[in-house]
């Protein structure tokens, strides 16, 4: 009797699993069921990440999608299993926002096993088979624009002492800070330390950048002409250190947050930042997902870069800050 009961339970469990497997991995192509999407980001605690969560949720509602949103809090141990579980329960597509492909190997595997495409934005700095498309701002253009702003302000880069501040765990910042070192070196500038000065934690990035620049200026009075930072929060720390030391060095950042725009408009050391067109990028990726949902067609290229806008005192008033999207 007990063995018969166990057999019945086993059969029921197998049937349930089989039905679940049938439900998962439905491709796009005009099914009558709502288009199911699992979206995730590890950066929901950043202003951009928080905006992305709201924007994607709004778009999903507008398009009638069945959306599962997973917010990671930079905790991959928590996020990855949650996303894999959501994929396992059945989805048509996965949308990765701002989460480095290097950290989501298990999610990529789960999606691949389920036959589900991953659409992404700002999730890798080069083409990868993990995504059917990944749209990112052009990192080289970011560097060209900001280095150009520094050059214009200083008159030349030749012989100038420039500190580059980066944070390697972030793929985008790592890419552009590396490009910045190459650009400045090629132009004949002296890059402090010959490599990007690393911020250990984005949470304390402003304070760390302040200490880095303050200590450098204490050791080298008047020996710094510019600070190039990979993101605005670190730039604000550099600005504070430069102001307190009475240095004439200039600073550039990336992100165009409201604080940096205000600082640029104030006419101090902060001379430029970069606006990355997140709403436009989101619309592009959503467009690809809509096409996939309707026809099953995937983008022709799995990697796209888009242009950015240099923000200076001239156009700062016209820019919507990235933390106010």
């Amino acid at each position: 009797m007990r063995n018969k009961f166990k057999m019945l339970v086993a059969i029921a469990a197998t049937a349930a699993l089989a039905l679940t497997g049938c439900a998962a991995g439905d491709s796009g192509g005009g099914s009558n069921e709502p288009f199911k999407v699992v979206a995730f980001t590890s950066g929901n605690q950043t202003p951009i990440g928080a905006w992305w969560v709201k924007a994607v949720t709004a778009k999903a509602e507008e398009l009638g999608w069945d959306l599962t949103m997973v917010q990671g809090d930079f905790d991959f141990q928590k996020m990855n299993p949650a996303v894999e579980s959501a994929i396992g329960q059945g989805t048509d597509a996965v949308f990765d926002g701002y989460t480095d492909v290097a950290s989501i190997g298990s999610i990529v595997t789960a999606a691949s096993d389920a036959g589900v495409p991953i659409f992404a934005m700002d999730s890798a700095t080069e083409a990868t088979d993990a995504f059917v498309v990944n749209v990112i701002p052009d990192q080289q253009l970011i560097v060209d624009e900001t280095a150009g702003a520094i050059e214009q302000n200083l008159g030349t880069l030749e012989g100038k002492n420039i500190m580059v501040i980066g944070h390697d765990p972030h793929a985008g910042i790592r890419e552009r800070s590396g490009l910045a070192v190459e650009t400045f070196t090629a132009a004949g500038a002296n890059v402090v330390g010959g490599e990007p000065q690393q911020i250990i934690s984005p949470a304390t990035g402003r304070d760390e950048a302040l200490k880095l620049v303050a200590d450098y200026l204490a050791a080298n009075p008047g020996g710094l002409d510019a600070v190039w930072t990979g993101w605005d929060d670190a730039a604000m720390g550099a600005v504070k250190a430069i102001t307190e030391a009475g240095s004439s060095a200039v600073v550039t950042g990336v992100d165009a947050i409201s604080e940096s725009i205000a600082e640029i408009q104030a006419g101090g050391p902060f001379i430029a930042t970069v606006e990355q067109p997140w709403p436009a990028i989101l619309d592009t990726v959503i467009g690809y997902m809509v096409t996939y949902s309707e026809s099953g067609d995937l983008p022709s290229s799995n990697f796209e870069t888009v242009g950015v806008t240099l923000v200076t005192a001239e156009n700062a008033a016209d820019i919507t800050p990235s933390d106010k999207l």
Binding site: Q45, A50, I200, A203, R206, K211, A219, M236, G237, E244
Partner: protein, 340 residues
């Protein structure tokens, strides 16, 4: 007349006398070892200063650089005062960093909403005190483990801070507020004065008040303290409550210093405050937490960070070395406790 005992002879063969007894002196190496264990942290601090000075004699001990170091450690010194209080009674507080961030965020958010500066600061301080009281109630009266309770508080408080700031960085505070963190008096930054005043108050309380003696007693042995008439629960409760208030002071000053407030900007102060207290514990024979030692610990952390930055040492290497030095200090403390 002095009589010398011969360690080779059995006690019954020793001369009987009631005059003074001379015990054979310890070897020099043993005495040196004890002294090193006793003052290892101070020795480490002096050695670090000498090292960095020798590497950059033109810069390291200049007024500008010393002022930089004091400026950079002043907030940590305040948070470390909070941690010292809690560790004197034998507990931990993992939420000091989170409390400081929340207090700064609340104060900033209220000022942006056009509340006058001082009332906003008072609310921020009350928030810190409130969380400290909550910690104290859980730990002292509900007997929860301090580690678990403050870990849970830390998690919730960070979440609250994200709610208050809506995940963004608050800025555009009144100039008068920013002056608290960025102003100077006789060329010394204001946070340094705050750190000195708070440290002095805590030191005086610990050394000369009944409450301070109660805290030390509880930290030494709770059961003996209780049997001796010390209200152990109240002592622990007050330690956590004050730690919350002091952490809030640190967080508000940090917001003034940076001119901005975010949910996690005081994050690493918790870890460094614990490290500073542990470094300071090696100074006393008892191996107990003490304020003077904590300040030496804060000084070591500040000198290391500044010195490595001046020498251009990679941040990751700095982190490794800082961790190793803390391990060394904790090892010294544990060896000294065994020596007792």
């Amino acid at each position: 007349m002095a009589t010398t005992l011969d360690p080779q002879k059995k006690p019954k063969d020793q001369p009987l006398t009631t005059s003074s007894i001379t015990v054979a002196q310890e070897s020099f190496s043993k005495r040196f070892g004890k002294t090193f264990l006793q003052g290892g942290t101070v020795v480490a601090f002096v050695l670090l200063v000498i090292f960095f000075f020798s590497m950059r004699p033109d810069v390291f001990l200049s007024f500008t650089n010393v002022r930089n170091i004091l400026y950079q450690v002043s907030i940590l010194a305040i948070i470390a005062c909070a941690q010292t209080l809690v560790m004197v009674v034998g507990d931990f507080d993992l939420s000091v960093g989170a409390i400081s961030s929340l207090a700064g965020s609340v104060t900033g958010a209220l000022m942006i909403a056009e509340m006058p500066m001082w009332p906003a600061i008072m609310v921020g301080l009350l928030v810190g005190l409130g969380i400290g009281v909550f910690n104290g109630l859980m730990i002292a009266y509900l007997n929860l483990s301090a580690f678990v309770a403050t870990l849970a508080t830390m998690t919730s408080v960070v979440g609250l801070a994200f709610l208050v700031t809506e995940g963004t960085t608050l800025f555009q505070f009144p100039e008068a507020f920013n002056e608290l963190g960025q102003g100077r008096l006789f060329e010394i930054p204001m946070p340094v004065y705050f750190a000195v005043i708070i440290s002095l108050i805590i030191w005086l309380t610990l050394k000369y008040t009944t409450l301070g003696r109660a805290w030390h007693a509880v930290g030494g042995n709770q059961e003996v303290s209780r049997l001796s008439g010390v209200n152990v629960r109240r002592a622990r409760f007050l330690a956590f409550a004050l730690a919350g208030l002091i952490s809030a002071i640190g967080g508000i000053l940090l917001a003034a210093r940076l001119g901005s407030a975010s949910a996690i900007q005081g994050e690493d102060n918790m870890m460094f405050s614990v490290a500073a207290v542990f470094l300071g514990m090696t100074i006393l024979k008892s191996g107990m937490a003490n304020l003077a030692g904590t300040m030496i610990g804060v000084g070591i952390i500040g000198v290391m960070s500044n010195g490595f930055n001046i020498l251009g040492v990679n941040s990751y290497v700095q982190q490794v070395v800082t961790g190793l030095i803390i391990i060394l200090a904790v090892t010294l403390s544990s060896l000294k406790n065994r020596e007792r």
